[in-house]
Symmetry: C2
Subunit: 466 residues, 2 copies
């Protein structure tokens, strides 16, 4: 058990000397927002909140905290879902969201250099103006890139383009000792010692603070098309996915959705979805540089899904239609949240051909535990987003049922050779399930790696492992 030093007057003096009085917040000057993330189940106020503007400031603060044995918690937009950016042990919260400059676009090397607080949507818009493309596309566009790197965020285009890690070429890091290092660079290949860059991706702010990132870009595909495909039921819809993959077509994304999630989103947005008559849908997108080859590709897929029992195929090739569909898709999380009193989520990733089995199992759980469970997610990459809804349950029943349902779901994921989290991370909330999944040897290894970076365990303690 670590015993950390509490933040006192002298510490505040030090922080003021680094950041000035406009960027250091104590007590009720700290907005309540900083006590939790997007899902809200885990809540604790930091002892002090500082807004940083440079790597030097971060290094000074962390170095001071290391010497004085004070907890440091890095924070971006706070859009996480597992409590990774909550100061569960108090201490100094470092808000990186004002380090939000796009530093350089390098068209010779196809890289973008950014500070960690740049928002995902700002990256997308900026590179698009240069006819370039940053493929990772998580639903939450107001997340910071620093947060995306720290959860190794995936998003909808992972089927074709992979995840955040695949687009991180280099990082500047402040280590838990306050020392600054650079790893990787504007280079395509690297076999120069252990890949610290890849270890940082997905480390949820526990190994180092990312203060700069060099991202890989691609040429912007000139055309995209989406297909909305209604089915009688979700099993049938999802059962077609391995057949699509097996046919050697790789769509950009393959999302699945059920009617009641669509209805919730229509209500939430006050906008009609193009079709909501069927029980279940697949939403596919394709991209490329000429319309003929995209057409060839999606015709192949259209034949497969019709053969497998699709009711119809709606083609969205105009901006308006695409917007209608994808804005609804983007609002699923918020609209489910708005439909209940509280919820928690499970973000398992299973092999692509096990998605249907997992979802059917959530139906069984819904019956067995008499609790609402909503699904949507990435059928093409096996990453599910399963939401368990509290509705009118009292605290005791909610805690009990949620724990039981989660226990069942994570056990099922293990049986299917899946992993605890596809893209949301482990944070504080999923530690038990990670531990159950990976076992003692692997858990100890994770602890040893943490210790290799952070011998005093001051950086975002209590997350992933503890």
């Amino acid at each position: 058990m670590n015993s950390y030093k509490s933040v006192n007057k002298n510490d505040i003096e030090f922080l003021l000397s680094v950041c000035g009085s406009n960027r250091v917040f104590v007590g009720d000057k700290i907005s309540e927002d900083f006590s939790h993330d997007e899902l809200g189940g885990i809540s604790k106020m930091p002892e002090v909140l500082v807004e940083v503007l440079s790597t030097e400031e971060v290094a000074k603060i962390v170095s001071y905290a290391y010497e004085n044995n004070i907890v440091v918690v890095p924070r971006g937009s706070g859009t996480g879902l597992v409590g990774a950016s909550v100061a569960v042990h108090g201490g100094i919260m470092i808000n990186l969201s004002k380090m939000n400059n796009i530093l350089e676009i390098d068209e010779d090397n196809l890289t973008l250099t950014v500070e960690p607080g740049v928002l995902l949507m700002d990256i997308g818009n900026f590179v698009q103006e240069h006819d370039l493309f940053y493929p990772p596309d998580p639903g939450e566009k107001t997340a910071t890139i620093g947060g995306n790197i720290n959860t190794n965020a995936g998003g909808m285009r992972a089927v074709k383009y992979g995840v955040t890690r695949d687009y991180v070429r280099g990082l500047e890091l402040v280590l838990p000792t306050g020392e600054v290092i650079e790893v990787g660079g504007k280079i395509v290949k690297n076999s120069s010692g252990y890949s610290i860059k890849d270890l940082i991706c997905g480390s949820e702010g526990t190994l180092a603070i990312v203060t700069k990132a060099i991202l890989k870009l691609l040429p912007l595909p000139k055309k995209t098309i989406s297909l909305l495909i209604p089915f009688d039921n979700l099993s049938k819809a999802i059962g077609t996915v391995p057949k699509i993959i097996k046919s050697k077509s790789i769509p950009t994304s393959i999302e699945f959705m059920e009617r009641d999630v669509i209805l919730a989103s229509e209500e939430f947005l006050g906008k009609k979805f193009p079709d909501s008559s069927a029980n279940a849908y697949l939403l596919l997108s394709f991209d490329g540089n000429d319309i003929e080859s995209i057409e060839k590709e999606y015709e192949n897929v259209a034949n497969i899904v019709l053969k497998e029992g699709a009711i119809d195929i709606f083609i969205a090739d105009t901006d308006e239609r695409k917007e209608a569909i994808w804005s609804a898709r983007g609002a699923f999380l918020e609209s489910i949240k708005a439909s209940t009193t509280e919820m928690d989520e499970c973000d398992v990733c299973v092999p692509r051909n096990k998605v249907a089995e997992f979802i059917n199992y959530t139906y069984e759980l819904q019956e067995k535990f008499n609790i609402r469970i909503k699904n949507f997610g990435h059928a093409g990459d096996g990453n599910l987003h399963v939401y368990v809804l509290r509705d009118e349950l009292n605290q005791e029943m909610w805690d009990k049922k949620l724990a039981e349902v989660f226990e069942c779901m994570y056990k099922k994921a293990r049986e299917l050779k899946g992993q605890v989290s596809g893209e949301h991370g482990i944070g504080f909330a999923k530690k038990k399930y990670l531990n159950d999944q990976i076992g003692e040897v692997n858990s100890l290894l994770i602890k040893n790696i943490k210790h290799a970076f952070d011998p005093k365990n001051i950086l975002n303690p209590g997350k992933i492992c503890s």
Copy 2:
């Protein structure tokens, strides 16, 4: 300084009890091949060589070695170039090359599960029969996949498809303690604790022994085309590469070569290259599913290179022509080697738009030190293969000149914000240069990570860090 236990009679007895007498070799029963790798500068015989056939055998041996403080060195085909698979501290060498079964192809999930001793060329052929594609394409096709994973091998298609790490989905590992863990799986996304999988890729057998790998496959592109493009000089050739990239065309590969390397390869293979009249060449390839879109792409590139001063463009669209070009390309290393008495190599990776500057610098060094230096490599991804040739130099002069030339080259790579190794690794031979590059803080971190996995430092010691 570690002091390891030497292998004695009891230890041999133990190994015999695990592997039987046909697979344990001692003294002059060990082929001299196992004392060095492909480049030969580093040489040392293991005390005992064992040929393993299963994870269980590996685990038993490593566990025993851990208890008894005996060095273990994993070995594949021995095609490395930096001494990573040489038993510089003696001990037990574990030859994994007979663990060479392809275990499963899963077309639903587009994965291939293999043992570590499967050769790269066997993977290529096997998946092609299923109309699938394993993109990493290092020149050395007789390397094992275990070796490729451990150097994070890149190869020629990295421009478009990335490197080995990008195609490793899951691993089974024997840790230095002899414990067995699995990381990753047949899953597309993973954010479940630190990515040990990604740390193992490129760790050169120092953190764990890979005993199984799940690889990601892609649909096999239906068409490929190569363009051989002659230029007056190499600077002009390489100078066009950032312009090609900037034009939003991403060829599958962009290789560069000079006339004298081509002539050496013609002599070595006894086969004519399609053209050897120009001083320098770019070799580009494109792939895709329909010929029209490939043509569109390469016409764009053809216009750029002609505008930038290319002398001509030879299109290789038949198997024979492609074979003539790519077999020559595959023989560059061997033919340079055959042209001299001894050589050493530098495998730096620099930003794509710094390749020309680096190569021009090697010309300067050639003059300054009066020593032959040959270049070829991956212009599209900035990864150079620079060979310094001994020719008739005596040992003392060779050692001196080689050290001086290397010192200059690695310093230049640092200035250009490159890295020590793009794909060959650090092994034993390049430790000094890695250390110079990354500095004390990062070096210490690498040592700490090594210690987190291998507290007794028994697994492949003296490599990467020491």
